[in-house]
Symmetry: C2
Subunit: 88 residues, 2 copies
């Protein structure tokens, strides 16, 4: 059962890499909602605290990596949205 959870966790964490690469390559993230990123970021941070409190390494690693990916994507989105406004 743990294998299934580990693979699921790896996929739901690893999926951020292609999204970050796409946003970087296209220099555009306008279609991604700020509210989506904010609510998801808060949820993942709570999962991270849940993992820390229950001392579950898989939950800590998966959600820790996802929090980092969301912070990077939010930073990319902020700069690309600014660029888009300036050139509009």
């Amino acid at each position: 059962m743990t294998i299934l959870g580990l693979v699921a966790g790896a996929l739901t964490t690893g999926c951020w890499l292609p999204q970050l690469l796409r946003s970087w390559r296209t220099r555009s993230a306008g279609d991604i909602s700020w509210t989506y990123l904010g609510v998801l970021g808060l949820g993942v941070t709570l999962w991270l605290s849940y993992g820390l409190l229950t001392d579950e390494m898989t939950i800590i690693l998966a959600n820790g990596a996802t929090v980092c990916a969301i912070i990077v994507l939010a930073d990319l989105k902020a700069s690309f949205d600014r660029e888009a406004r300036e050139t509009a």
Copy 2:
């Protein structure tokens, strides 16, 4: 501790609503990566199976709702990407 997990699950599930609304309102989802949706969809489906096998209702409900949201977003993205290609 369950409350923390329930709130985290509600946020990481509820976050899809603003993203679906944004994509619907702007009729655009080009910035969202197909690979991201595919890998995330597979991961969430595995979490759903994990929940079914371990009979954990919170995991079943959260990931079941997320699978539905990803299917709707993929459908929106397919039609809006097609529209964008036809008008390009």
